[in-house]
Amino acid sequence: MGTALDVLGACLLGLGLLLATVGLYGVLRMPDIFDQLHAAGLVTGPAVLVILLAALTTRSADIVTSAALLFVFVLITAPLSGHAIARAAWLRPGPDEDGPREAETPGAASLLGEGMRTLVAYDGSDSAKRALELAAQVFGPAGSIAIAHVVQPLGEPDFAGSPEVEDPEQEELLAEARAAVARTGTPAVTLRRRGDPAAELIAAGAELDADLIVVGSRGRGAVASALLGSVSAALAGGAHSPVLVVGPSATFGHGPIVAGIDGSEFSLDAARIALALDRRLERGFRLVHAYTVRPIPGVSVVPDARAELAQVDEQKAEELLAGVARELGIPEEETQTVRDGSEPSALVVLARDLDAALIVVGSRGLGAVRAAVLGSFSTSVLAEASCPVVVVPPIVPGSALG
């Protein structure tokens, strides 16, 4: 029995050291970090584990206990740190690695000429058709349009999935979309992509350096879109350009562009984008600060005090609006405060009264789930608005659309 254990222990030690040697040799010989990671995984994982297994043959309870602890620890951390390094190697900026970061469509930017570059997401649905129609009518004359269709592969997205993959259904949809745009006399290019729709659209927008991304929305509420996944919500949080969301019942009004502000940086960026859009479209402009009277427990039962507080709030709102208008150089007659039960619906009601062309709001870039829980201003506006809504994601530089 004793001899057998000794032999087993020696074998395990030998095997572990062999694995470590082979792995180390591999790391030393291989040129690329991804190949090296594979070999290094052999040293940090299996080699250490096998040698720790040899502890079973030492007949010492202390050693076996400690070794078991370390075994579990290595089992968990070795893959994690390997993955962290691989991820960093894949995502890191800089030209010193030759690994491909993203599928690229060379020359895509040059396909879109001078003027306003609009990217329209198209999936053949009714809301997508409406979005495309609107984009072609409103933004087509000001520049050019790219139509993107994203095929969402079932199951694992394949990394090799190139934009060149032929898909008859995709071709049919894109041909239909191109024909629809051609009727308005606007040049259009088409993009074929595969993968997660929101991620692909964000990437396509960045590649084209699009000034605006246009998507249709199925008009789901906050909770439904958090659960089911909403492309428009994901875009509004992460795109590199403003996102125009066309709801199921949204119509492009004859009135001005309404920009909602609340004094935050996000809303200032949104107002700048709205101004830039107004320069393109020349529809008139209205800077709106929607606010609510803070409910204060106890005070609200005394009518006088309530009125006084409301006045204080109104004054504050006016000051905030005046400050922003001064900063952006907007004349006073184009600004307005509005008060209602809730801020988003006040903005939406005002937009309806003005027959607004567009509503422009900023987004904090919350994820879908957090937005549903915390309440997202942009999401509520999206759900209720009667005209298309431009959501300005937090990472859009203020100078976009210039």
Partner: protein, 88 residues
């Protein structure tokens, strides 16, 4: 286990340590250095474990556990640094 076997194992692990050092010296950039340190720590854990078998005490393995924990955390932080520019 026969002492001779464990002696040889500890000796060989020391040799591997030199290989790991060579890897660290040859690393061209931060990520390669992080990887090299990861491998070095793994070899050190092997060495400490064999030492523990040799001396028949468990403390070396406890030390190896602490070292592994430190290595894991610093790998994650260093990777973050590579991605974000500075640890924050």
């Amino acid at each position: 286990m026969p002492e001779l076997v464990v002696d040889i194992a500890a000796g060989w692990a020391t040799v591997l340590l030199f290989g790991g050092g060579l890897l660290l010296l040859r690393a061209p950039d931060t990520l390669h250095r992080v990887l090299a340190l990861d491998v070095l720590v793994a070899i050190l854990i092997v060495l400490l474990t064999t030492l523990s078998y040799l001396r028949d005490v468990s403390y070396y393995i406890d030390g190896a556990l602490a070292l592994g924990l430190l290595s894991f955390v610093s790998t994650l932080v260093a990777v973050r640094h590579v991605l974000r520019g500075r640890p924050s």
